[in-house]
């Protein structure tokens, strides 16, 4: 009976561990630099684009940053938009973040695209977000879109 239990339990435990350790699809990286210079870097950020709104979910699923953009310009496969509304959903509570300015670049193609006036490139369906909030926080996000609606 105990042997049966262990033999049943081991694959379950192994499966759970592998699922926890295996890299998820969400590979976005978010860097937040506070006004006082302290910086946090977050990995495994899930990135979802729904219309003109970009949703960034933290790896622990506890925080979601919602960035809505306008004035989108299309240039050779690259979409450049100006974010004008940012909402941070913290444990289910929505906080509007006063944004000063920012830029959202999205590579809408399946090929690498060069950023304007830069040597950097964006890979297929990759997004680069740069935000500066009214309270002096700099946010940069880079990663490939996990979902496009």
């Amino acid at each position: 009976m105990s042997r049966f239990r262990i033999e049943t339990l081991v694959p379950v435990v192994l499966g759970a561990l592998i699922a926890a350790v295996a890299p998820a699809a969400a590979e976005g990286i978010t860097r937040i630099q506070q006004a006082d210079g302290t910086t946090q870097v977050y990995h495994h950020v899930m990135m979802r684009l729904s219309g003109r709104t970009l949703w960034l979910r933290s790896g622990d699923h506890r925080g979601i940053l919602e960035v809505t953009s306008g004035a989108c310009r299309y240039l050779d496969g690259l979409q450049r938009c100006l974010p004008y509304q940012t909402v941070y959903h913290d444990h289910g509570v929505a906080h509007t973040i006063a944004l000063e300015h920012g830029t959202v670049y999205t590579n809408t193609t399946g090929e690498n695209v060069q950023l304007p006036h830069s040597a950097d490139r964006l890979g297929p369906h990759e997004v680069l977000v740069l935000l500066h909030t009214m309270r002096g926080t700099y946010v940069s996000v880079k990663g490939t879109l996990d979902q496009i609606k």
């Binding site: 081991v10 926890a20 989108c72 444990h91 006063a98």
Partner: protein, 227 residues
């Protein structure tokens, strides 16, 4: 037999949990990045070395505690001054809907938003001119040098203007009509009203005479005020 399997299972659990620990140490566990070592060189010599990462006061999620904290009771006077141009620049003004002839833009793509690969351009409301002329955040206009101003004597309003940024719809519009921007103010200029009551001015040329015009963002054309 049972004890051997138990030991094997435990060993596997310990072994498999090691990569997850390593992942968490790399910051993969969605925690703030560890403080950089003092001996490590800064990524860019010119930039100041980042300070040690402060622990986030909230458990999990992103650290936006400064941005989500309640505002201070009395905002600084400087911030108040910076808001002033915002209100002035976004005052809805009547009379900027022109019904004169449309001056065709031969260089813009055909149809609505052909110039933007057929994708509708929508103004971003927190930017001067909706972002048509460049990424001019309205809240930052107070610290930006105006490129002249259009004075509406009748309505007792003045509309500050700013220099158009390259690689914008506004810059394309000027290039398409071979117009050169100049500070607003003097008479005899081409006065172009863009989205959200934004205004820029240009020298007249053989295509566009002096006077007031309105931009149609859909076709990237100018509409004259006079018939």
């Amino acid at each position: 037999m049972t004890s051997r399997m138990t030991v094997t299972a435990c060993a596997l659990v310990v072994l498999l949990s090691l990569p997850s620990l390593a992942l968490a140490q790399r910051g993969g566990g969605n925690r703030p990045a560890p403080a950089p070592r003092p001996a490590a060189p800064a990524p860019r010599p010119a930039a100041p070395a980042p300070r040690a990462a402060a622990p986030a006061p909230v458990a999990g999620g992103f650290n936006f505690h400064r941005d989500t904290a309640p505002p201070a009771a009395a905002p600084p006077a400087a911030a108040m001054r910076r808001v002033m141009p915002t209100q002035r620049a976004t005052v809805p003004a009547a009379g900027h809907r022109f019904t004169g002839p449309v001056i065709r833009n031969a260089r813009a793509g055909g149809g609505n938003y052909g110039w933007n690969h057929g994708i509708a351009w929508q103004a971003a409301p927190t930017y001067w001119g909706g972002g048509f002329w460049g990424p001019f955040a309205i809240v930052s206009l107070g610290g930006l040098a105006a490129y002249g101003a259009y004075v509406d004597a009748q309505d007792q309003l003045d509309y500050p203007s700013y220099q158009v940024e390259p690689d914008t719809p506004g810059a394309d519009l000027l290039a398409d009509y071979a117009l050169q921007q100049t500070p607003c103010g003097p008479p005899g200029l081409v006065v172009i009203w863009g989205p959200d009551n934004s205004v820029i001015c240009a020298f007249p040329n053989d295509q566009i005479g002096s006077g007031n015009y309105q931009v149609d963002p859909a076709t990237l054309t100018l509409i004259s005020a006079s018939s």
